[in-house]
């Protein structure tokens, strides 16, 4: 058996997508209220879920590579373009703070009945079109500060993969502890019941109630 299968078919995409969407919704990530609460430090679910997922997948990939079932250069690893990578992250973070979603969670939002998810998608098409329109003049910036191909943290710091994963686990544990403390100070993370309102107005009332009971 040789891994990965490089299966780019319909079934492969649907399977990965259905599971991805099911987990995101179950974590509460269809809600722009819950997603943006991370930035207000009142709900740390985004940090907790993302960091845990990265660590679990990182351990799996490292084990599969060490066991010899997954060749080291067989999977996609992005390359850094310092300014474009950093500024792109800044813009996507700003987009979530303002619009309430990222690309994947806007699809989750729309699928759970949130019409604002659809408007966010319209915005993304506009933003992508704008990027394409100015692409020629942005090219220098887009390609500036290119790092080594497929560079990993382990290569950057010259330490083994296991050490990097160990450091990430320490950061995750600290993040869980600090995050949970912040959440408790704000009446706990947002629950499905709090976010179940029919309209924005209903959610607003729940918000006011929770402020009063604090």
């Amino acid at each position: 058996m040789s891994l990965p299968f490089y299966d780019e078919g319909v079934a492969s995409g649907l399977l990965s997508g259905v599971l991805f969407g099911y987990v995101l919704e179950s974590a509460g990530f269809g809600s722009p209220q819950k997603l943006t609460a991370q930035f207000r430090f009142t709900d740390w679910s985004v940090f907790k879920v993302m960091f845990t997922a990265i660590i679990v997948a990182a351990i799996g990939l490292a084990v599969a590579t060490a066991a010899g079932v997954l060749p080291a250069k067989s999977i996609f690893i992005p390359t850094t373009f310092f300014w474009a990578t950093l500024c792109g992250g800044v813009l996507v973070g700003a987009g979530m703070a303002v619009g309430g979603y990222c690309p994947g969670t806007s699809a989750v939002g729309l699928a759970t009945g949130r019409l604002d998810g659809l408007f966010f998608m319209v915005g993304m098409v506009l933003g992508t079109g704008l990027f394409a329109a100015v692409f020629d003049s942005l090219k220098g910036f887009y390609l500036a500060g290119q790092g080594p191909q497929r560079q990993t943290l382990s290569q950057l710091f010259g330490i083994p993969t296991w050490a990097v994963i160990g450091i990430l686990i320490v950061v995750a544990v600290l993040g869980f502890m600090i995050g949970t403390r912040f959440e408790r100070a704000h009446g706990g993370p947002l629950t499905a019941e709090q976010l179940a309102g029919e309209t924005v107005e209903t959610v607003s009332e729940i918000g006011i109630v929770s402020v009063r009971t604090r």
Binding site: G13, S16, G17, V18, L19, Y22, L24, E25, S26, A27, G28, G30, Q33, W44, S45, V49, M50, T52, V56, A58, G60, L61, I75, I77, F81, T85, L86, G88, G89, V90, L91, V92, G93, G95, A97, V98, G100, Y101, P103, T105, A107, A111, T112, G113, R114, D116, V122, G123, M124, G127, T128, G129, F131, A132, F135, L138, G147, T152, A196, V200
Partner: protein, 170 residues
């Protein structure tokens, strides 16, 4: 139907990590999202302003191949994401048709913010060559430097802007 609670973050993170790992073993790459919207933009441009889009250095290549710009793994994945999310919401009593968002910026303001935030995100994801899923999550698993650089920028600007806008969301 009673609304069922969300999964605890640790459980959701472990399952998401397992799904991400499975996707890597199945396809050779991780999960994504913004790539679909790039292809959607290329397709839409091809339908409405064909010459300009085909001649565009960034979107043109998507239209110059024999395959339809949307005929790609990422499209099936996004269709799957919506089906999976719909299934999870329907079976947990969390499906509601509504305009969600900051309570104090409801109605037309919410629509403007969603479109504006989407535009920032669409532009930013193209600049970064990926989004929170495609670059942050899927680049994070193989410990790519690019993923963590992206996430640093994402959280810093998200916190600065999200914190300044906090009164609208309370």
């Amino acid at each position: 139907m009673r609304v069922r609670p969300f999964w605890p973050p640790l459980l959701a993170g472990i399952v998401l990590g397992a799904v991400l790992l499975m996707t890597f073993l199945l396809s050779g790459h991780g999960l994504g999202a913004s790539g679909f919207f790039t292809r959607l933009t290329a397709w839409f441009g091809g339908e409405t302003a064909r010459e300009a889009t085909v001649g565009n250095a960034y979107l043109g290549p998507f239209l110059k191949t024999a395959a339809h710009p949307l005929a790609n793994w990422i499209t099936w994945e996004i269709v799957g994401v919506m089906l999976g999310a719909l299934l999870a919401a329907l079976t947990s009593g969390r499906f509601r048709v509504r305009l969600d968002g900051a309570p104090k910026l409801a109605g037309p303001a919410r629509i403007a913010l969603a479109v504006g935030g989407g535009a920032l995100t669409g532009f930013g994801a193209r600049l970064a060559r990926g989004c929170t899923s495609g670059l942050g999550l899927s680049g994070g698993a193989p410990l790519a430097v690019a993923a963590f650089l992206f996430l640093i920028g994402f959280f810093i600007s998200g916190i600065v802007l999200g914190w300044s806008l906090r009164r609208a969301w309370l």
